[in-house]
Symmetry: C2
Subunit: 387 residues, 2 copies
C-alpha cells in the first residue's frame, strides 16, 4: 500500500445548529478542509453519516453534498457503520488513495440530529442495535449502555460516582476547544446529582445529541509537494467487528472488536501501546470509555475506572484521552464523530492544539471510533513522522 497522509482538515462547531441543515454543515467543513490545503477539488469524496435517511428523508447524501460543495462530477459514496460512520468514510478515503485509484480523497462526516423530535432521534440511534432481537423488545441505545454499566459496577465493585472521573476529564479539556458543545467544568458533586436517564446512566454519563460536520483530505506520498501543510501520516486504520446484539457475546464487558482492531493497527504500523501518546476514544457513554481502554489494552480488565480516578487519562497523565472534550463534551454528531477525532489528533500532531490541551511533543496518536455497543470498531494511528 502507498503511504497516505492527512493534508487538510475542517470542522464546524458542535451545537444544536437550528440554522443549518445537513448540506450546509457538511459544506462548511469541506470548504475549510479544501481551503486549508489550497485545492478546489478532489478525486473521490466519501461521506460518513448514519441517520440522514431516517431523520431528514435524504439518502444519496454523498452525491448531494458533493454537489453543494461545488464538486459535481466527482466520485461520491456514503459509508455507514452506525456511530462509526465517520471513521468508516476515512477508511475508504485511505484505501482509495492507497490503491492508486485516487491521488486526493476527502472524507466528511456529518450528522443532523436536531432536525426532528428527540423521540424520533432516540429511535434512529437505536437502529445501531439489532432491530429484530434488541430494539424490537423496546430497549433503547442508552438502556443497552445502562446494562453494560451496571454489569461492570457489579463485576468490578465500583460505585457509580467512580465514573465521574471520565466526565471531569472530558469537560476540563473541552473548556479549551472552541468547537466543543459544553465548555464548562463538571465536578463529582454535579455528576452525583445529575438526572437519571436509564439507571445507572445519568445525563452526565451520556454524550449529547448534536449537529456537526468534520472533514479530512488525504493524499499519497507522491503528491505531498502540492500541499502547504505538514503531512500527518496514516500509520494504520483498521476495522474489526463483533456481534451486534450484546447477548450474543461471550462476555459483554470485553470489546473483542477493540482488541482485534488495535491488534491489527499495531501489526500494520509496527507500533505498540507504549508508543501511543494520546488516545481519542469513543466516550459516547462513560462505560464505553472504560470498555474501550480495557479492550484496547491500555488498562487491565476492571481497572480503567480506577486509573481514571488516579489521573492516568488526564491531559497531563500517562495517556491523555478526549483531549478536545471527547464525545461527552465536544459533542457526538454520530456520523461525524470519527472524523472529529481524526481532526483533533491531527491538530495535536501538528502542535496546533490550544495550549492548555496540547500534548507536549505529540508524535503518535490513536483514535477509536465505535459503531453500536462495540460491534464495529475502527482504530486509527496517526504519526507526525513517517514510520
Amino acid at each position: 500500500m502507498r503511504p497516505v497522509a492527512i493534508v487538510g482538515i475542517g470542522q464546524t462547531p458542535v451545537r444544536e445548529h437550528w440554522d443549518a441543515g445537513l448540506r450546509e454543515l457538511a459544506v462548511q467543513a469541506v470548504w475549510q478542509a479544501l481551503d486549508e490545503c489550497q485545492i478546489d477539488t478532489v478525486d473521490v469524496f466519501y461521506v460518513g453519516n448514519m441517520l440522514s435517511g431516517t431523520l431528514t428523508g435524504q439518502e444519496h447524501l454523498a452525491t448531494l453534498i458533493a454537489e453543494y460543495a461545488g464538486l459535481t462530477g466527482v466520485e461520491a459514496i456514503k459509508a455507514e457503520a452506525a456511530c462509526g460512520s465517520g471513521a468508516a468514510a476515512f477508511r475508504q478515503a485511505v484505501l482509495a488513495v492507497a490503491s492508486g485509484a485516487a491521488e486526493v480523497a476527502l472524507a466528511v462526516g456529518v450528522e443532523k440530529l436536531t432536525e426532528t423530535s428527540t423521540h424520533k432521534t432516540t429511535d434512529g440511534l437505536a437502529s445501531a442495535a439489532d432491530a429484530d432481537y434488541e430494539t424490537a423488545m423496546g430497549i433503547s441505545f442508552v438502556a443497552l449502555n445502562a446494562l453494560l454499566m451496571r454489569r461492570y459496577m457489579y463485576e468490578y465493585r465500583y460505585h457509580k460516582s467512580d465514573f465521574s472521573a471520565f466526565i471531569e476529564i472530558a469537560h476540563r479539556n473541552a473548556v479549551h476547544n472552541p468547537n466543543a458543545m459544553f465548555r464548562h467544568l463538571v465536578n463529582r458533586d454535579q455528576y452525583e446529582r445529575a438526572k437519571m436517564v436509564a439507571d445507572p446512566v445519568n445525563l452526565l454519563d451520556s454524550s449529547p445529541i448534536a449537529d456537526g460536520a468534520s472533514a479530512v483530505v488525504v493524499t499519497s506520498i507522491d503528491q505531498l509537494k502540492r500541499f502547504p501543510n505538514r503531512p500527518i501520516w496514516v500509520a494504520a486504520c483498521e476495522v474489526s467487528t463483533d456481534t451486534i446484539a450484546l447477548d450474543n457475546r461471550e462476555n459483554p464487558l470485553w470489546l473483542k472488536a477493540a482488541e482485534r482492531s488495535v491488534h491489527k493497527a499495531f501489526k500494520t504500523s509496527g507500533l505498540t501501546h507504549r508508543d501511543i501518546q494520546l488516545f481519542e476514544l469513543h466516550d459516547a457513554f462513560s462505560i464505553m470509555s472504560a470498555l474501550s481502554l480495557e479492550g484496547s489494552g491500555f488498562a487491565e480488565r476492571g481497572t480503567a475506572v480506577r486509573l481514571a480516578n488516579e489521573g492516568h487519562f488526564a491531559i497531563d497523565g500517562r495517556l491523555p484521552i478526549s483531549t478536545f472534550g471527547g464525545l461527552k463534551a465536544r459533542g457526538h454528531p454520530v456520523g461525524a464523530t470519527g472524523l472529529y477525532q481524526i481532526v483533533e489528533a491531527t491538530l495535536q500532531l501538528r502542535g496546533q492544539a490550544p495550549e492548555a490541551i496540547q500534548v507536549p511533543d505529540a508524535r503518535i496518536a490513536m483514535t477509536q471510533n465505535i459503531g453500536g455497543s462495540g460491534a464495529t470498531i475502527i482504530t486509527t494511528i496517526l504519526t507526525r513522522e513517517r514510520l
Copy 2:
C-alpha cells in the same frame, strides 16, 4: 493498482420475499458466493443497501449481516449511493483488494422493500432525490422519471408506444432467468393498455418494488490459484456524479455522469464502445434505458428508442441489453441491483448464462448502475481475459 478478479457469485431470486428479512436474504447470497469459491471467510465485507434504516429500523447493516453470515470479526462497512448502492459496494471491494489492504473482499447488495406499506416504500425511494428542493414539493421518484420521459418524447418526437421495445426485450430475456421476478412476455398491445402511474410512465415502464440479494467475491491476481472458478477480470469500475435535482442540470436529457463514468472506464481499461458485447443497463424506468444508452455513447441523442425498435438491443442484436431481464423484469431491489448486474455479466463471461440468453463468445461486458435520476453513475467493465 493490482489487477482484481471476480471469483465467486451468489444471488437470491428477486421476489416479494414475505418469509425472509434483510439478514436472511443477504446471507443466502453471501453463502452461495463463498461456497462457489470454496472459502469460508473474507478480509473485508461491504454491504450495498439504500433503505434498511428508513424501512426496517436497521442501520449498522454490514456488521449485522457479517454476523449472521458467520463472519463476526471481519471488517464490515455499508456503502450507500441510492439505487447505485450495489455497485458502490463493489467499487469499495475492488479498491480494498487493489490497495493491498485485503486479499479477498466480498460485496453483497440487499434490499427489502416489501417490509412495510407501499406508501412508505415510495417515500423511501424518493429520498434518492433532493429532499429540500424536489421531494419537499411533493414529487415522487416516478414523477421525476415521468417529467424526463415527457420531455424526451416532445424533444425527439416519439410516441409513448415506441418505448414498448425496451419492455419487450427485458421480458423476453427474463423468461430464461430462474431468478427473475417476471418470467412472461409482454407485447406492445399490453404495454399500451397498462395502467398509468405518473403520465406518461405506466406500470410496464416501471421496474417492480422487490426484495433480493446478490453477492460477489473479488480477489487479487496473487491469490487466484486458491479459487476453483475461472476468474472474470475487473477492467474498470468508475463512478461519476451529477446534480441530484433535475432542474439544476443544463440538459436533463443528457446524463453527464454516464458520459463521464463511461469515459473514465474506457480510459482505465483501454477499451472502446466497439469492444463491449453486452450492456447490463439500469432500466428502472424505460426512459432511463434510453438516457443511459445515449449518455454512455451507444446511441446518438434521441436515437436510442428508434434503435431499440430496430432490434439493436435484443439478445441477438448489435448490443444486447438487460440480458437476464434487467431491472424491469428481473426486478429492482434497489441496493442489490448493481450486484445483480455484475453477477449476470459474470455468468455471461463464464459462458454460464441459460442458452437462450447467452451472448455468443462473450468476452467483454459493461454494467451500469444508477443512483437517483442519473446523479450517481457507476460503470463497470468486466472481461474474460486479463487485458
